[in-house]
Amino acid sequence: MNKWEDNKAWLMVIPVFLVVAVSAILPLMTVVNYSIQDIFGPGQRVFVGTEWYREALLDPRLHEALGRQLLFSSLVLLIEIPLGILIALMIPKKGWGASLSLVLVALPLLIPWNVIGTIWIIFTRPDIGLFGAAINSMGLPFDHTASPLDAWITVMLMEVWHWTPLVVLLAYAGLRAIPEAYFQAARIDGASNWATFRYIQLPKMRGVLTIAILLRFMDSFLIYAEPFVLTGGGPGNSTTFLSIYLVKQAVGQFDLGPAAAFSIIYFLIILLFCWLFYQALIKVGTGDKP
């Protein structure tokens, strides 16, 4: 990276820093503050140090929820990223087809998350929902309120339906930003479609794909409203993801301490994974720099 070295660039960053810091730093400090105290009421607090953290880290149900969460987020990345790139490649480059495709792709993203869960409840009902009825008419028993596997399939389908469009839009914008000259050069060289994709389009999409992977990872790791509305974390605990478990813990508890400690741990886990992804994706970039 040959950039100009100039600390005056801070002047351009200060507005962003201030806007974000106002909303970020004080609440975070407050939560850290909760997490190390036992609060009985106003003015009655006891410093408990790392007790809440130890409690949270030793909680077996938290380990299970974390395991489910990791599996869920890995599946999300493995399905949505390749599918999103594939669809972005299929969308025409210009004309009315491109406009129409972009509008259609964006539709699922625009529905509030709690509504998405509610719509999918009906959509997947075997008696009055299109999806449930279609599966049942093929002779497959399907009921996401009783079978953990069906519940997982339903939540995954909903998640892929809802969020693949984000990857599509990012990948499509990344593809459109590649100058036409690259494709002309590839054509002259007689490069196959696969070679064009592998050596021109994919490396050029690295920036947007980094964002797509990080966003999909952190947002799927924090997923709450859709599965909560759809399955309520059940059947049993089979779709109780981390955030659902966190809210189950926090709600109805007078003391926010344990939930605050849980939140900090939660945050650190996401931070760790995102940092690892980010480092890995930067390294990939230096290998085949365009």
Binding site: V16, S99, L107, F123, S243
Partner: protein
């Protein structure tokens, strides 16, 4: 032949994508009793009662106006602050740049549930509760970092020689930025504007916590009505259909910026 295969694939994807949305539309044109009783591919006795209720009841339609108001504010804030910052990150090295860049994104990583109470306390200290400004500002927490990251990606795709040429030609920085640089990255600006709009539009927890009556967003009004007297599925579906409309209009307006990409021959 190849082109056809690609089109067929796309059509299949869109059919699958539209099915749940069609089902929502289907539900929105039926009464609640009808939805719960009968399975039907299309409404046999379509009724627009659900839509009439939303458009005539102020507690419903004001939700759309509130959402639209603070979302627009948020998009403007986010773009105005993020554009210069993204330029700084893509063109300069400065003290702490890499850490700051990654720190920005960490603000999207906190589970909202427990952070809501401190948020409420912070905003009530400044007397901002129940204002559109409060919601717009709090949504900057996750939209500004996203905007900086997306814009930085697009800006880094523009060769630095373009900046150098412009400065040699005697362009001032604002003039260069507005007349040469922004047109080059308009794809990125279009995507960013849409994402900011989208994430702010569908965000529920913060918006609900920071408002009581005056600035209540539509997503919160939906949940409130739902919890009151059991679920009114038809009304909820109609409200859901209507929440799609503004965003679809936004993407219709930015579609050209998305689709055109950038031409290096411009400078």
């Amino acid at each position: 032949m190849k082109l056809q295969k690609r089109t067929v694939g796309l059509v299949i994807y869109f059919v699958l994508l539209l099915l749940p949305i069609y089902w929502m539309l289907n539900m929105s044109l039926r009464t609640n009793a009808d939805i719960m009783k009968v399975f039907t591919f299309y409404p046999h006795e379509p009724t627009i009662a659900n839509y009439v209720k939303i458009f005539t009841d102020e507690s419903w339609y004001s939700g759309y106006l509130n959402s639209f108001y603070y979302v627009s504010m948020n998009v403007v804030f986010s773009l105005l602050t993020a554009l210069p910052a993204a330029y700084a990150f893509s063109r300069y090295t400065f003290l702490g740049d890499k850490h700051l860049f990654f720190w920005l994104l960490t603000n999207r990583m906190a589970p909202a549930a427990v952070f809501l109470l401190p948020f409420f306390q912070l905003y009530s200290t400044f007397g901002l509760i129940d204002t559109h400004f409060a919601v717009a500002l709090s949504h900057c927490l996750f939209n500004v970092p996203l905007a900086v990251w997306v814009l930085e990606g697009f800006m880094s795709g523009v060769p630095r020689e373009i900046d150098e040429m412009a400065y040699i030609d005697g362009y001032s920085f604002p003039r260069f930025f507005l007349t040469i640089f922004m047109p080059l990255i308009r794809t990125g600006i279009g995507v960013t504007a849409f994402f900011c709009f989208m994430f702010s539009w569908v965000e529920l927890l913060l918006a609900r916590t920071l408002t009581t009556t005056e600035a209540k967003p539509i997503a919160a009004i939906m949940t409130r009505t739902v919890s009151a007297s059991g679920l009114d599925w038809g009304l909820l579906a109609a409200a859901g259909v209507l929440t799609i409309v503004p965003g679809a209009l936004v993407i219709w307006f930015v579609r050209n910026h998305l689709a055109k990409g950038f031409a290096l021959g411009r400078v």
